[in-house]
């Protein structure tokens, strides 16, 4: 697997779902793995198609397409100190926003497969309890 860029933020104070998406993408933008327009595209796609990124109760996976400014394979987590509403009829409110980007249509397949397995095994609740960024990144490291 291509080594993904990993990062996390904990104790995030987001005012709404758009802020939460930006918070999850922010460290990856800082690292240069995502262009600054990428989180805007995630928000725009959700505004067009609805809250597609809300996968399960309390959990969102923000993502857009390679051409939306994904430079390198990357994955991050934002643990919110206050949950936000995405407008999902069953899975709101959301207190954990993951974000990933892939530079093409294939690089992320293994990462996402591993992420799905780890989520089924309880990764989301582990991340919610992460005491700090270092621990959260270490948990994400198990996925990569």
């Amino acid at each position: 697997m291509t080594e993904p860029i990993l990062d996390a933020v904990v104790g995030v104070q987001a005012t709404d779902w758009r802020g939460a998406v930006h918070a999850a993408c922010a460290p990856l933008v800082t690292a240069g793995a995502l262009e600054a327009r990428y989180p805007d595209r995630c928000v725009a796609i959700a505004e067009e198609h609805g809250p597609y990124m809300v996968l399960a109760p309390g959990l969102a996976l923000a993502h857009a397409r390679p051409e939306d400014g994904a430079v390198q394979l990357c994955l991050s987590a934002a643990v919110l100190s206050r949950p936000v509403e995405f407008g999902h009829d069953q899975n709101d409110p959301v207190d954990l926003v993951l974000a990933f980007g892939s530079p093409d249509d294939a690089s992320h397949l293994e990462l996402l497969q591993s992420l799905a397995e780890h989520l089924l095994a309880g990764l989301a609740d582990e991340l919610r309890l992460a005491p700090n960024r270092v621990e959260a990144v270490r948990m994400l490291g198990a996925v990569a």
């Binding site: 796609i45 959700a46 067009e48 198609h49 609805g50 809250p51 597609y52 990124m53 996968l55 399960a56 109760p57 959990l59 996976l61 993502h63 857009a64 397409r65 390679p66 999902h88 009829d89 069953q90 899975n91 990933f100 892939s102 249509d105 992320h108 397949l109 996402l112 497969q113 992420l115 799905a116 989520l119 089924l120």
Partner: protein
């Protein structure tokens, strides 16, 4: 009742982007179909591309299923992508209703 397809069932998992949510849904659909003993070929795509495609079964979030009514005779709406058992139950019921599973 439609005749059982004499080939692997074609299943399309769909999300707004076609990169992440639909891919996770594909993996969980493969798990669920395998546990039901159903031979299936699962592909994932975005909702815009899906509208030009045909399959036996389409699986997506409820917010997309209206757009998928012409894509497949069986359209399954899910809300929790991590609930493989729930998806298995939905598939079991829908495939039995079609006569595709005994």
């Amino acid at each position: 009742m439609s005749p059982a397809p004499n080939r692997p069932l074609t299943v399309l998992t769909v999300c707004g982007v076609g990169m992440g949510s639909s891919l996770i849904l594909k993996m969980n659909a493969e798990k669920a179909l395998k546990s039901l003993g159903v031979d299936a070929k699962v592909e994932h795509t975005d909702v815009s591309s899906a509208r030009g495609m045909k399959a036996d079964v389409a699986i997506a979030q409820g917010l997309h299923t209206d757009e998928l009514s012409g894509v497949a005779p069986v359209v399954i709406a899910i809300s929790n992508f991590m609930d493989v058992d729930g998806l298995r139950r939905q598939l079991d019921e829908a495939l039995r209703a079609q006569g595709w599973l005994e």
